[in-house]
Symmetry: C2
Subunit: 150 residues, 2 copies
Amino acid sequence: MANKNKDLRSHCPVNFGLEAFGDKWSLLILRDIVFRAKCTYGDFLKSEEGFSTNILAARLEKLIEEGILEKRPQETDARKDDYVLTQKGLDLIPVLFEIMVWSSKYDPESEARRIPGLIEAITKDNRQVSREAIEMVKARKPLLGAYLRS
Amino acid sequence: MANKNKDLRSHCPVNFGLEAFGDKWSLLILRDIVFRAKCTYGDFLKSEEGFSTNILAARLEKLIEEGILEKRPQETDARKDDYVLTQKGLDLIPVLFEIMVWSSKYDPESEARRIPGLIEAITKDNRQVSREAIEMVKARKPLLGAYLRS
DNA sequence: GATATTTACTTGCAAAATGCAAGTGAAAGT
DNA sequence: ACTTTCACTTGCATTTTGCAAGTAAATATC
């Protein structure tokens, strides 16, 4: 799974990120995993933004190719697979968080405004909160649940 | 300022960001402004990733609609307009920075590895560096120049 | 054990977005 | 006057998206 010889437009660090997850859907999958502890194709499909089945399948495949996600067969139900974040995927949590801080500021109807504690914590120390979030994700606990109750 | 009545897929803060700048090009314009002190259509066109003329025009228009960019006629040359970041646009710098930190870690050929000082500073305190960056952008100085010389 | 249902997709097709080349028109330079 | 620069627009082929429908394997139900 080493060198995927894809031809990048450039090795600018902004562009590298955009080529890996720069579209309207990929980060929503990350969000579902991190905040809602989702992990199967069917779970993602139920998201409020409304994935098309083919688009979801394509994005999952892309994120696996990028090394951001891993696919693991479920032990209890052979029809299902779990999609889990790799370390590379977990390291995107700080990016997710900064987007949330920005949206919280500029979307008056942002759902983020219901969790001011989390937004404030991220603003103060994104990296510290990210470390905690990574542990939550590894433990398969929904991050949102924790902060909605605070 | 006109068309504010766009129907969002949701008010999830991750989704809000994706709908505003979630594509392969928009953040490259931001990068050019922040790091290379570019500000005209022609400047952006010269970027190494190779904008199509129509795509660039469409993205600039979109970012203006989103309130992230502003268009100002140049005083010295009436053919040109300056595209400048609004506060809403400047507040995206922390997002840009987190993407760079991630890419620096996972792209072995990342140009970010030539500016370890900046990456380390962002990792330690993104918000502090962002505040400094905002001042640089307002003063029309290229951020990259400053860190390449350190 | 046969049948129905759930799950994770794939396929077909219309519509939209993208990418390239070639204009266009106003302003600036010569 | 004319040529060039600049910021786009237009036309068109290719690619990607979005929706509906279908499929095949595994599980649940009768």
